[in-house]
Symmetry: C2
Subunit: 200 residues, 2 copies
């Protein structure tokens, strides 16, 4: 005989749909949600629905925003002649944390993946082509994996004839990393991308 | 200049309040919630509020249930002469997965912890004393940590004069564990609790 409680199972199932949340974690979270103060649980539920209602994608770059145009695109102090192309809005957060890049972004909304039915028409490539007026450099910052590389190569071939400088973020040994534990392809990229010491 | 989005930050903060969810995980979850189909997000939000509204504690044992008395307490095939005392309802789920115990449960709702202001009055001990009619054995299944041991000893001293058999779950080397990596106190308990081979 099973003693399962229907509403609790629903909550566990709904939580287990989230990425990185397995069955046991979902159960622990569900129990916590049941025993936390009612105000906090309502706050969480409202944040889920409220955020979805109030957050949308920037009409220009595709970043997450609560206005039509995101704060980065609207900031006059940023350099609009250089656009960094990323896969999704989370990558913008990561780039902004590093704090070095002062240009604008463009979110593709994915990477080319024919196996999953994602071709150029599924990505925000047309929107990128519509933003090229006055742009001097496009930095391709898709992930250094198969899909990210394929997408970078596709965009490079598309943009090159347009007399725009197209660059790719550097691949190499991560800072704090250990040569001994670095994979062959990364080492290969690090060697290919070596620069004279005074530039570094 | 910060480019944070207020409603997104609210969702990240609400998620980060959950146990085991740090800042980065909360951000990943928030992004996933933003980009998942609207129906799924509503389902999650409704499960959070709905489960809290529909799930309560069993009036007899303190287990989670969607009725007044939980399915375990109501099951006539279970042995009502033996009660297993646990810290919280999650422990019942764990015990039921093992499938061996066929008696009833009693949830204390915590363990004695004077540092946190949790004394006997904060636990469901009065409710346990009210259930002793016809009970032959109380199994103390609080965790084998300081608070759990203290609570077990407290209950044992309370119940012993009442001519009820009081037992404690066995402590020892976990199945699949490795003697070499087992801590001293567990090994000590395993040695103290040794049994003749034919009983095992």
């Amino acid at each position: 005989m099973s003693y399962s409680i229907a509403p609790l199972s629903e909550l566990v199932q709904a939580l287990a749909m989230l990425p990185g949340i397995g069955g046991k974690t979902a159960q622990r979270l569900a129990y916590h949600i049941l025993t936390m103060p009612a105000g906090k649980a309502d706050q969480l539920a409202n944040a889920i629905t409220g955020t979805r209602a109030r957050v949308r994608f920037c009409a220009q770059c595709g970043n997450l925003t609560d206005r039509d145009i995101c704060a980065i695109c609207e900031d006059p102090s940023r350099d609009s002649s250089i656009i960094c192309v990323v896969r999704d809005a989370r990558d913008i957060m990561a780039m902004e944390r590093s704090g070095l890049f002062r240009g604008l972004y463009h979110v593709l909304g994915g990477t080319l993946s024919p196996m999953d039915g994602i071709g150029p028409d599924q990505l925000r490539i047309k929107e990128l082509l519509g933003r090229l007026n006055g742009v001097k450099e496009i930095v391709l910052a898709t992930n250094p994996d198969v899909e990210g590389e394929a997408t970078a190569i596709y965009l490079w071939r598309l943009l090159e004839p347009m007399q725009i400088k197209v660059t790719r973020i550097a691949h190499g040994v991560p800072v704090g990393g250990d040569l001994e534990y670095t994979d062959d392809i990364t080492l290969q990229k690090a060697m290919e991308g070596r620069r004279p010491m005074h530039q570094a």
